[in-house]
Subunit: 500 residues, 3 copies
């Protein structure tokens, strides 16, 4: 048995070397990078060697036809054509536009590769992603005064004063980089340079504040937004990883956004878990029934999908909004998806930077209308219909709409109760010019919309099983949360049970 295995390994190794030799042409610069970094960073070099980038020249890649053509840019600089896409090709691109560009063994290289760099070959994806809500995740969080109130009420370091007052020291940059901005993306900034004693002698490097980070809305050193490596993990950048749900889990695991957990407990997730070993995660186009038999996150939200007749079911889009009629999570109420990815301008009727009023009325000017919602729903349903007949699909989507309505009613009841508590002076909110998220009762209110209503909506949207709809932060927890708010209020207003 071991002989066979050994022979197979030898044969494969030989064939492997042969086929790579044939296709890969390294630029002189990349070869020089590899001479050292192959020893210093063997993990990422090995990853890159397995990538499509390492195994073809740009020139060869550009003349491919149809779905084999992975480059979407129409024109690419002649200098890039003859070689594979190696270290130097990405880390020296776009000349001096990167704040972190530094001289390194005779080359001007930059540490942080941005979507604009990737966009040299992948212009369509770069363009779409720039219009994706995710690419604005940094500014949409840090530029919103109300969300910053929430962030500080969570991350601030508590300090107990001698007079029993509990105050907060605002969180520092390192804390926010590890928490909210881990996913939303940090704002990178070169703050100086330093000389390090490396295995290759003394060398100078830029000091980059906010680094490392691979958040989807990272503000890069060339001014661009996002990090392709968030999903296409460095340095294989593989479509396989981006298509598997574990990748999305990194930011969508919960409890505020339990997409992965709900998926994993759904029938789709069950099929994935038990059958994925027989699927092809690399095929482009991705053919339903042939390459996979149940959707992953990517299937529904991004991927180009064909049917077995070779017909296009849905186009790929890195502007995920294209398929999303509703914005389900993160706020007090689910609401129609925002019109634009930059949410800085959104104001509700009270002038607060929220997409709905406190009673749930949408700030309609800034949100897509029902016609666009219907269009996106229809687009999405094209996918469902490959495995489900119309009665199934319609039944499912009616429930989703019902759930949005019911959970919005529930968060409305919780919010009205919170408002009465503010009005009664038992807590201090916006109308007292205070942070509406930092007291115990306010945090209980946050649970209702930020954790529980969200969970129920995800469970509905992904047909995610009874547990996340009920006991796992679902209605069971939501109804408990509201009752506990009421209990807290009743106790402090000396209402006795009889009058409740």
């Amino acid at each position: 048995m071991r002989w066979i295995a050994a022979m197979a390994v030898i044969f494969c190794t030989v064939m492997c070397c042969f086929s790579k030799t044939e296709a890969a042409v390294l630029s002189e610069a990349t070869q020089e990078c590899l001479d050292c970094h192959n020893v210093f960073h063997p993990g990422i070099v090995a990853d890159w060697e397995k990538s499509r980038h390492a195994q073809t020249t740009v020139k060869d890649a550009m003349v491919k036809k149809g779905s084999d053509l992975r480059i979407s840019s129409k024109t690419i600089s002649d200098a890039l054509l003859p070689s594979s896409v190696g270290c130097a090709e990405c880390h020296t691109l776009n000349g001096q536009s990167h704040e972190d560009t530094f001289e390194h063994n005779g080359y001007d290289i930059h540490v942080v590769v941005s979507p604009k760099d990737c966009g040299v070959c992948h212009a369509t994806e770069d363009g779409q992603y720039a219009e994706n809500l995710m690419s604005h995740a940094h500014g949409n969080l840090t530029g919103n005064k109300l969300y910053q109130d929430l962030q500080r009420s969570i991350l601030g370091v508590p300090v107990l004063q001698d007079d029993d007052k509990l105050t907060y020291r605002p969180e520092n940059d390192m804390t926010s980089a590890e928490s909210c901005l881990y996913c939303h993306g940090t704002r990178l900034k070169v703050t100086g340079s330093e000389v390090r004693d490396t295995d290759a002698g003394e060398l100078s490097f830029p000091i980059i504040k906010g680094w490392p980070n691979q958040g989807v809305g990272r503000i890069n050193l060339d001014g661009s937004r996002g990090a392709c490596s968030a999903c296409h993990t460095r340095h294989q950048f593989s479509i396989e990883m981006a298509r598997k749900p574990h990748t999305c889990k990194e930011c969508h695991t919960g409890p505020d956004v339990p997409a992965y957990k709900v998926y994993a407990a759904s029938k789709h997730g069950t099929i994935y878990a038990t059958k994925k070993d027989n699927w092809d995660f690399k095929a482009v186009p991705w053919t339903v029934g042939k390459d996979f038999t149940a959707p992953t996150c990517a299937t529904c939200h991004i991927s180009l999908v064909n049917n077995t007749d070779g017909d296009r079911i849905i186009e790929r889009s890195h502007r995920m909004n294209d398929r999303l009629p509703w914005r389900l999570f993160g706020l007090v109420y689910a609401h129609p998806h925002p019109l634009r990815p930059d949410l800085a301008d959104i104001r509700n009727s009270s002038g607060i930077p929220l997409p709905t009023d406190f009673d749930g009325t949408p700030a309609a000017t800034y949100l897509i209308d029902s016609k666009e919602q219907a269009k996106r729903t229809h687009t999405f349903q094209q996918l469902c219909r490959n495995c489900h007949d119309a009665s199934w699909v319609n039944g499912h989507w009616e429930r989703v709409e019902n759930t949005i309505q019911c959970t919005n009613e529930a968060t409305k009841a919780a919010t009205q109760l919170m408002q009465r508590i503010w009005q009664s002076g038992l807590a201090s909110g916006l109308s007292q010019q205070k942070n509406p998220f930092d007291e115990a009762i306010e945090k209980k209110w946050c649970d209702v919309w930020l954790i529980q209503a969200n969970t129920i909506r995800f469970s509905s949207a992904m047909a995610g099983g009874g547990d996340y709809h009920v006991f796992a932060n679902g209605y069971y927890s939501l109804s408990k949360g509201i009752q506990e708010m009421k209990d807290w209020y009743d106790l402090r207003t000396t209402r006795t049970k009889g009058t409740k």
Copy 2:
């Protein structure tokens, strides 16, 4: 390398087509279905093509011997014998007994396939499952007034009245279909028909309330109970999926019934996670040590298992009760397993539809006796003994019995405290003709038995590791919950610390 892969793929494809051509004979009706649905629903067609159903005729399947014989019905209508089991075979079975049968391109088809349909070939499994507690999951929940109180206290939509009263609008059918009934099963009902403009022109379809649903206790349109597709996912219906624990996870992930999570953290689950790629999930009989080296959910609860000598260790049973001495979860106290799957008649000594009194005394008439418990325990232990000696097995099961007793004592303390709260008028329960589950303090009491005691029992029964026994909703949370109930009670009875 790619040449080899390509050659292998070509070779396999050729062989695959060859072997399928040999075995599969499609009925004319199924061929007609496929002509359209292969394009409209390629995902499920592809799934079906991979199924055993597609790859053999009923006639060939019936003459197989021993474990190769997968059909358990003794006689099957001649009409079904010559062809494979395709679309038409399942969706036109049993003539007009299905309420949703409709004329579709010249055929009388029904949308929802029921266990009775599957039972045409799989009579033994259909018969066993009808006596399984799961098949009665719908009625056992919806027909129990007390459980309906609990359901409404969870799913009802909260409404805050002007006078600060918090009332509930009962949940609608769509909400219950997505939550409790996702697993327990909906009651399907044809409410009319509609004409849809399809790719194949205008066609009429039945409108089915409660659809889609694959709950284990679904009330079908032929009056039967359950959905085989809950575990044998459509349209592969594979034994492989049913044997993998992810399938069970869909309804048993927690926190009320954390079976999957506990399993995944157990030694058994660890072996599964790290070694499953070398196991055979399709082999029948399933041979311990050869096909698998640690149990999955199915191994212990359903599967036919042989040892390597070819001896039968345990028979397959879709009446899972056969191996269950105790009913661990869902109620205030763990108790001997119910005698019958239909629990409608169960009353405790106070006439309440519960299998125990509020002090834990079992409603013995409706439950199995200790002799039957011993028999089921013995049956179960036959499995354990294949990898564990008697001292291990006995040590484990003694702990399980101990845990049932200790957790029952703990839920008794919590329940006594709850009863004193009701008696004191601080909350309103059954004796006040009120819902005993809808107030904040009542919900904390529910946590103790519905979440925490259950988790500890699962952790014990599956040797699931310290975390679920302690910190992950285990004793750590249980003791906290009881102390918080006490704290709540003390505050409201103005007891000072000194008298506590």
Copy 3:
């Protein structure tokens, strides 16, 4: 297709038998064991047959060179050399030193194999593990009065007295064996013997209290500590299982120690989940970039790792402390790692058996100094540098140190608040000679350090994603917990909002 599979199976089976015949030489004793146990316990026999133990003689294993040499003992008794390592070799080792040794069909065998038994061939690993904190996990928990207070406040069985007092009956041995000691390890004890009616007739066996157990600090019947089978699961004892993170999950899943969950949501865990099928989990040395492209738990904490040039990056160590500058979890404050694995002597400045004062000041005498911390950090970083440049590595570790400081400040605020509550008489703690963990408000305080601060530290140390840093028991829950403590205190001290 089935023909090919069948042919492949036949061929492999033949080859497999051939190769095993060649290498495996069973001792007469082991052959006798197998004659019966192959039938009685086919699962574990099949596991063992797949093990390295079954496939080589000790003599052949000892003459292997370099990394192929898996035996670390310099000399091994001649009696063991000629045969494979089978049942008898492990279960009869070390003569009468085992309390559970009993006469069984002419052999003196013992049930429980200890690290000292494994150490006959694996002396280095046995020696290292004996100095590992884990091997002392039993005594470090059961011998610490304060930790026993905590354990009893969690596991004790609550009893409601007639006067509304809530008392606790101490947990019994079976409960602690299933909970804390599941991971920490039980103390095994032979309490007698019994005759059992087995398939092989009436036989006598020892009765072992605390059995079964595979906790890392188990006190064995030869006086040794630990259980190699905790990670090297019986009876394959494979390095593959020990290297996969699921194995560690058994005790490190949370919420008190959510290492696995954090890993699974990290970029490293994502790469593992999506790419592990292409990795080699058996290779020794384990070569980064070749055998794996992202670390598992074992990579960072135990394994011997090479780079692709064949250079040793880091030595294997079963004394995991070697790579740990900080002790992150389990206590009120993160602190420098303890100097010695046996923590019995540790006292803080108040004489309490804790490694820090209640204000966080380390009990420095018992902990490693900053120089040793720097050395361990440097050792650890050698691993990071294989895939990450210095700016990435430094950025990451600075954040970890920042998180330790910030979370220690947070737990300090919570602890000061708890101390004021004790001083005010609203709860009874150490200074009142009472259990400081058993009241509702004390349990909320425990959450802050035992669950939430720990989770944040793990999230930081493993770059585990935003969710575990914030919403999944992270800062979101920590800040809520502290505010709820404050809310509780304010209510009971009749402070009105105005003075807060």
